[in-house]
């Protein structure tokens, strides 16, 4: 299971495809069941952990860090058990909490350097590295100001800086864009994308679907402490197999003839008039589209779009909750 480790500080092996597995994980807080038989395999890459508030996302992250005990099931992070080997795991993990957690009466550079030292870095290394990561997240000269004078966006950046100061292999970001304005959100998503591009595994917990859709390669949908759906974004967001969205432009009479002829070839599911000269169709059974293009030539209309049906992550999310069940529509 465990692969070769290049850096002595790196305890999470680089070459396993599946980085984190959870099997039937149950976590209870008194009578509240936060995770209820949660099972998932999390691959490497930028992963979205999605779910409504109270779904169990933060609980799963904390259980993976070994911060809270499990009542049942197993979790493995790079082959290590958070319950018994939490310190080794935490040495190679960065965590950006959702809530405000920064120490207000110190400057950002002092704080990040201090936390680097608590991660085991020497004082000089920690100071040098804290400047590096603050440069990376875009905190300039403000780094010398006390954290309590920062805006929410700057605090979020300092939180991400403290999570990466020790260069962990796995990064948990809990609601990274929480409380940020649109520009700040863009910058934060860009940071996530750039960290992910370095080969690190980044698990982004969020309930903002558009953000996850933009930066993640894989999504896990969780509700009431259970896995609802998971998979690669491309697979999750793929629409019904064989269903294509076709956009046609032409004079109204030619369009009418084309649609009638196409009805004889494919099964038209939906037709929407987009003005007088354009029609949008959803059709299945059109094969590779050659017949569609042949018909368009025959009727003198233009095919402006011929794309497989694709859902938004919001559709996937809603469908998963309406359809219910693991992996089920």
């Amino acid at each position: 299971m465990q692969g070769a480790v290049e850096n002595p500080d790196q305890v999470i092996p680089k070459d396993d495809h599946i980085l984190l597995t959870a099997r039937d994980v149950t976590v209870r807080f008194g009578s509240v069941i936060a995770l209820n038989g949660f099972t998932v395999d999390i691959p490497r890459g930028v992963i979205g952990l999605l779910g409504p508030n109270g779904a169990g996302k933060s609980t799963f992250i904390k259980a993976s860090l070994g911060l809270i005990p499990r009542n049942g099931g197993t979790i493995s992070v790079g082959g290590l058990d958070p319950q018994t080997q939490s310190l080794r795991i935490r040495d190679d993990i960065g965590y950006m909490p959702e809530h405000d957690c920064l120490i207000p009466n110190v400057s950002a550079v002092e704080l990040v350097s201090y936390l680097g030292q608590i991660s085991g870095m020497g004082p000089r290394d920690a100071m040098q590295r804290s400047h590096e990561v603050l440069d990376f997240v875009g905190i300039g000269e403000e780094r010398y100001r006390l954290v309590k004078s920062y805006s929410t966006g700057m605090k979020q950046k300092v939180k991400i800086a403290q999570a990466i100061v020790h260069d962990p292999s796995l990064l948990f970001l809990d609601e990274p864009t929480s409380g940020m304005d649109p520009n700040g959100r863009e910058e934060m998503l860009d940071l996530v994308r750039r960290i992910g591009a370095t080969g690190k595994t980044v698990i982004v917990s969020s309930h903002i679907l558009q953000e996850v859709e933009r930066v993640c390669e894989h999504a896990i949908i969780i509700s009431d402490g259970r896995l609802v759906r998971d998979g690669k974004m491309g697979v999750l967001m793929a629409g019904e197999e064989g269903l294509f969205n076709i956009t046609i432009r032409g004079v109204p009479k030619a369009l009418e003839g084309f649609v009638r002829a196409l009805g004889g070839v494919c099964d038209i599911v939906e037709k929407t008039d987009e003005g007088t000269n354009q029609v949008a169709l959803s059709a299945r059974g059109c094969g590779d589209g050659r017949r569609v293009f042949a018909l368009s030539k025959e009727h003198g209309v233009q095919v402006r779009g011929y794309v497989p049906d694709k859902m938004s992550l919001e559709d996937v999310f809603l469908q998963a909750f309406q359809g219910g069940g693991s992996r089920g529509y």
Binding site: L67, C101, G120, D125
Partner: protein, 273 residues
């Protein structure tokens, strides 16, 4: 983000200071405390009112050797030493946990490879170091000054008293810290923690006085008195007949151990969230 954003760079170094995490926390707390006006003021005032006179007295007053009774009178009787120790304990420990409760910053520590006991050890060792600046180091300085100026030859006897002074100083250093940490873990406001610590000691002293009217053995529940009784035992002096040695040991152990357990459980609970 600029036109050419600074890219993420992996860190090529090796983490060589994993074993120094406690030291990092302790150093940070110590540096913060030693710059605090309240701590500096208490240390200066305490040194002047409790220790300075005794050092001068030890040097100028002729004495044959370092005497246990003299050291007990200086550290144990009168209560000034204990009052300053209580005040400093309350001020030093007040924000150690309460600030992290208020800022919810425990997660910054515990998402790293650090245990609750390491975190507490780091925080308390800094507090103990500050406490020792008033409770342990000056009495040892007084004892050394007294030994250096003694007229007699009994240096081994004096060295014994010096050792006992160091033990008494260590106990005074440790005695109030766990209780202060416990109060700090129970609130988000350091002012509440400081006042709460001092007032609860004050209440214990009042209650001990009230019950002592019926049975003087109740005096052991006063932290200042129990500290004084423990000093008389350490210096090999006779304890008052109403003080039961086991009861005193039990109270002092409980006074340290129960708050330490409470603060551990409180922090553990905060980590879980």
């Amino acid at each position: 983000m600029g036109i050419n954003p600074i890219e993420y760079r992996a860190w090529k170094g090796v983490r060589s200071a994993q074993k120094s995490r406690l030291y990092v926390i302790a150093k940070s707390v110590f540096r913060h405390k030693i710059r605090s006006f309240g701590v500096i003021a208490l240390l200066a005032l305490g040194f002047l009112l409790v220790h300075a006179f005794q050092i001068i007295f030890s040097v100028i007053a002729p004495h044959e050797s370092l005497d246990a009774q003299t050291m007990y009178d200086y550290m144990g009787s009168g209560g000034t030493f204990a009052i300053f120790a209580i005040l400093l304990g309350a001020v030093v420990t007040s924000d150690l946990i309460s600030d992290d409760v208020a800022n919810r910053s425990f997660v910054l520590y515990f998402s790293r490879a650090i245990k609750v006991r390491d975190y507490l050890a780091g925080k308390s060792s800094a507090a103990l170091l500050i406490m020792s600046l008033l409770c342990a180091i000056p009495p040892v300085m007084v004892a050394i000054a007294s030994m250096a100026t003694q007229t007699g030859d009994d240096y081994s006897g004096s060295a014994g008293v010096l050792g006992r002074t160091a033990v008494a100083g260590a106990i005074a250093t440790i005695f109030f810290v766990p209780y202060g940490l416990m109060m700090s873990s129970l609130t988000k406001r350091k002012s509440y923690a400081a006042v709460g610590t001092f007032m609860s000691f004050f209440v214990m002293i009042i209650v001990a006085e009230l019950f002592a009217e019926f049975d003087p053995a109740w005096r052991i529940i006063s932290p200042a008195d129990s500290l004084a009784y423990s000093f008389s035992w350490i210096f090999g002096l006779e304890m008052p007949s109403y003080v039961d040695g086991w009861a005193l040991a039990g109270f002092m152990t409980a006074f340290i151990a129960i708050p330490a357990a409470v603060v551990y459980l409180r922090v553990k609970r905060q980590v879980v969230g």
